[in-house]
């Protein structure tokens, strides 16, 4: 189908969706280029999903494979769930970026290269023996554009060093892409205007527009493409990443519960952005504290919880593990706080910028002795917002630390997010213990319904009391070494956490309510699993899906739901943590699909497993 764009002299072709990957050196501005293209795409009304994939090194040696940074965006006129398995279009700024990414491109797809950077030295540094281009011309639609030269020509006469001029070339490429897919550039120009001044601003805007004009006039692109806006739920949308949504959810919890928020954290990839983002919101009365280490981060957070703040700490795997002893104290003292773990690939330092779901069992069992706490997981970037609110709801209502699991993939991925109606969000009035209501004050007296103990904060006259890590006497909370009491307190805390199950919405099944195959997921794999299940049903397979937010306790109907299906498939980005839990609790024969490569599931991988199991 073709249509004529009224402002263009070329034809444009309507397509349903396209996936583009930007790739270059870490210092080439690929993440920025991708983000700006994402913003423009969102404003054009497409559904979209992004996947930034960058090395842990800030700037590895230029031109090497180690330094290649990529950003993939998938956008569509229909509802999509993932950044797509394979890009349709690759923009490679140098030979290393080409070599690292070209084999991912869909056969026959478009590969745009900055031909200026293809010389013998750069090819050697990238590990190419000879000239790869003749072969690629056979297999792909190879478009060779001299980005460096064209950018320099566009910026002639500006008072910029040659280095400053060359740093603008990513915006030339962005301009070309904007023309190719009919994206407006107003938002990017607005952003540039807020970021730069003088000739740097002029340079970036000029090269962006020059790139657009180049697309319009060059013979290299006979047509442009139109991806019509998506038909998704109506409302006001914005782009949001998982870390941003988590941060906003924490701020929102403070507003909705009318309490000050305290965030204690120590920088760690990929969780630091939550700290950065929350630190911007001091005008919400939020206090952020960059502690000297992970242990101080959680300790200060527990102190803030004791004092009556909505207290939260955020880190990733290695940091989360350092917090475990203190979380045990929070379990013992039954204080409400939220500990967020944006999981990354491990063990040890592992692959800090890559994703994994390997910390579920550590969250559940990583403290010594019987130390139960609720665990919830965010499933999409936008869901991180609601997960933060839910975590605080549980923490405060049940007087318990709550662990939130996110992961490196949803933390950095962006998606269009239907902005929630603030007036419709749950509001909770926090009630601290009040000496007027209580005769003799018992710090470990329990609410008959929830099992929660009172939250008696310093500064309240008449409720002076002492808490700590030593075993507490039931009721009084005094130090107790009595054997019966010890067992009773362990049981009371266990019952309290398990009782939360009654307060959770029952699991709802996507697809047939019972039958042949149920695909179970948790956390950041929701997008890929949803896409695969939808595909499978479109192909006529009977495939159902559930996705767990609450991992401890499980929703009370989980066992019953699992029992309604002949086969259960559980894809996890680990060696099967949830599978182990479901097997032991419900005695269900779970089929595992495990991937531990630091990368999210591809839809094709899931489809293969679903098809194989379905037809077995």
């Amino acid at each position: 189908m073709t249509a004529t764009d009224s402002t263009s002299h070329k034809n444009s072709e309507q397509i349903e969706s396209v996936a583009i990957r930007f790739a270059g050196d870490s210092g080439d501005g690929m993440q920025l280029t991708g983000t700006k293209f994402t913003d423009e795409t969102a404003l054009a009304g497409n559904d979209l999903s992004t996947f930034p994939d960058f090395p842990a090194e800030i700037r590895a040696p230029a031109g090497t494979m180690a330094g290649v940074s990529g950003f993939q965006i998938h956008f569509s006129s229909r509802d999509i769930h993932t950044p797509a398995d394979r890009p349709d279009v690759l923009i490679a700024f140098n030979p290393a970026a080409l070599r690292a990414n070209v084999e991912d491109v869909r056969p026959g797809g478009t590969v745009i290269i900055n031909i200026d950077s293809f010389n013998e030295k750069a090819l050697t540094r990238a590990g190419y023996d000879g000239d790869p281009l003749p072969d690629l011309r056979e297999r792909f639609n190879l478009v060779e554009i001299p980005f460096t030269t064209l950018n320099r020509e566009a910026l002639q006469g500006l008072d910029l060093s040659s280095r400053e001029i060359d740093r603008c070339k990513n915006f030339f490429a962005l301009g070309v892409l904007c023309w190719l897919y009919g994206r407006p550039m107003d938002a990017t120009e607005r952003w540039l205007g807020g970021k730069f001044k003088g000739d740097v601003l002029e340079g970036n805007v000029r090269t962006l527009r020059a790139g657009y004009a180049f697309g319009e006039t060059t013979e290299l692109f006979p047509t442009s493409f139109v991806v019509p806006s998506a038909k998704i739920e109506s409302g006001t949308y914005r782009n949001i990443t998982g870390n941003q949504a988590l941060a906003w959810g924490l701020v929102a919890a403070g507003v909705q519960m009318d309490r000050e928020v305290f965030l204690g954290a120590y920088p760690i990839t990929p969780a630091s952005d939550v700290l950065h983002e929350v630190a911007r919101f001091r005008h919400f009365g939020v206090k952020t504290f960059q502690a000297e280490d992970e242990i101080a981060a959680v300790s200060s957070t527990i102190g803030a919880a004791f004092t009556g703040n909505l207290a939260v700490t955020v880190s990733s795997g290695p940091g989360f593990i350092l917090k475990q002893e203190a979380l045990g104290l929070a379990v013992m003292t039954e204080l409400p706080l939220v500990a967020i773990n944006v999981q990354r690939a491990g063990p040890s330092t592992g692959s800090p910028t890559k994703t994994e779901q390997g910390d579920l069992l550590a969250a559940l069992f990583g403290r010594h002795s019987q130390s139960p706490l609720p665990i919830i997981a965010a499933s999409t970037p936008g869901d991180c917002f609601h997960t933060a609110l839910e975590a605080f709801r549980i923490a405060v209502k049940y007087m318990t630390p709550v662990v939130v699991l996110s992961d490196g993939y949803i933390a950095n991925s962006a998606e269009p997010w239907l902005i929630p109606d603030v007036d419709a969000l749950e509001r909770t009035q926090i009630e601290f213990a009040n000496p007027i209501d209580i005769g003799e004050f018992l710090p470990y007296a329990r609410d008959p319904e929830t099992g929660a103990r009172p939250w008696a904060i310093p500064g309240t006259p008449g409720l002076e009391h002492r808490i700590g890590g030593l075993t507490k006497a039931d009721g009084s909370g005094n130090v107790s070494y009595e054997a019966d009491n010890h067992g009773r307190m362990i049981q009371l805390r266990k019952d309290k956490i398990e009782g939360i199950a009654n307060d959770l919405p029952p699991i709802e099944v996507e697809g047939p309510d019972s039958g042949e195959l149920l695909v179970v997921g948790w956390g950041g794999t929701k997008g890929s699993i949803t896409a695969a299940c939808e595909n499978a049903r479109e192909q006529g397979m009977s495939v159902s899906q559930i996705h767990l937010r609450h991992l401890n306790p499980f929703p009370s109907n989980l066992g019953e739901v699992l029992g309604r299906f002949e086969k259960v498939l559980l894809p996890e980005l680990s060696d099967g943590h949830l599978a182990m839990l479901l097997r032991s609790k419900y005695l269900v024969d779970i089929q595992m699909l495990n991937k531990i490569e630091g990368q999210p599931f591809k839809i094709s991988e899931l489809m293969e497993a679903i098809t194989e199991l379905h037809n077995r």
Binding site: D39, L43, G45, A187, A230, I232, S234, G235, T236, Y237, R238, W248, V251, V255, F262, G264, F281, R282, H283, F284, G285, V286, K287, F289, A291, E292, D293, I295, A296, S299, S300, T301, I302, G303, A304, A305, F306, T307, G308, N309, A311, E325, A326, L329, I419, P420, V422, P435, P458, G459, T460, P461, E464, H465, R466, I467, G468, G469, L470, V479
Partner: protein
Amino acid sequence: MAADAAVKVSRKDFVSDQDVRWCPGCGDYSILANVQRVMPELGVPRENVVFVSGIGCSSRFPYYMNTYGFHTIHGRAPAFATGIKISNPELSVWIVTGDGDGLSIGGNHLLHTIRRNVNTQVLLFNNKIYGLTKGQYSPTSDVGTKTKSTPQGAIDHPIDPISFALGCGATFVARTIDVDAKHMQQVLKRAHEHEGTAFVEILQNCPVFNDGIWDELQDRKTRAQSALVLEHGEPLVFGPPGEKKGIVFNSGIPSVIDLADDDDPVARGVVVHDEQAPAASYAGVLATLQRPDFPLPVGVLRAVEKPTYEDMLQRQVDDAIEERGKGDLKALLHSGDTWQV
């Protein structure tokens, strides 16, 4: 129960209903009694007092105070206290720690709390031994100390708590002795009055695992010779009548001179104590005065003013609200680029 200025509070009001479970003769009893005695004089309502501790014999302290209290985990009390103070700057927050808890496992937290100048009182009970784990050497034990874990004698070089605190940039540093009630109460009051982290080393005897290490300072008969009692604006003089001595500095190097009873110490060149000396190097030299070559300084070595962490943080919150208005969640969610579907 409500705080009523007219109701006179006494020591008893700060005694909790819990049985104290330190060993008979432990120096902690005396410290507890003095803290409870000082509390009513500080003018802080009981509900606004929080005692925070880590792990060790000293860290049982909060259970015995009828205030808010938090017995936390090993070494981390300063970090908990920081969260408490940031969350509610109105509270009077006291950290109770020991030489093992504060300077070994918790050395990092102590360092950072002190350098941030979080307005808390740190009471470090120094008995140069691990008591609760039954007698291993600690980071303040002297070289050669024989314990269960060092049967041939400790080979670690000890850390001096006062020098450590000064090195961290402490704005208030003092030392006192477990059995010297009057002196300790003065020091505790000064520590409380100080805006910022007030670091107090309390020399404390462990009668079970390290008995007698502070004998010459605890014994009134020998204290005059072995302790240098610091008073702001007074010369550094010590010794009983007839055996008076003074501290002089030669190019910053301290030495002891004999004084006749009718000598004017200042005229003889004895250093006049200045706890407010802008440079920490003066207190640093005092900290090097160690037994047996010198008397051990007790009292306030350093007390200078610096903004506190929690005040500066609160000011950033206030400034942000003044500049941007109180945060509006709806406006936040709709900020930046949005679009309608």
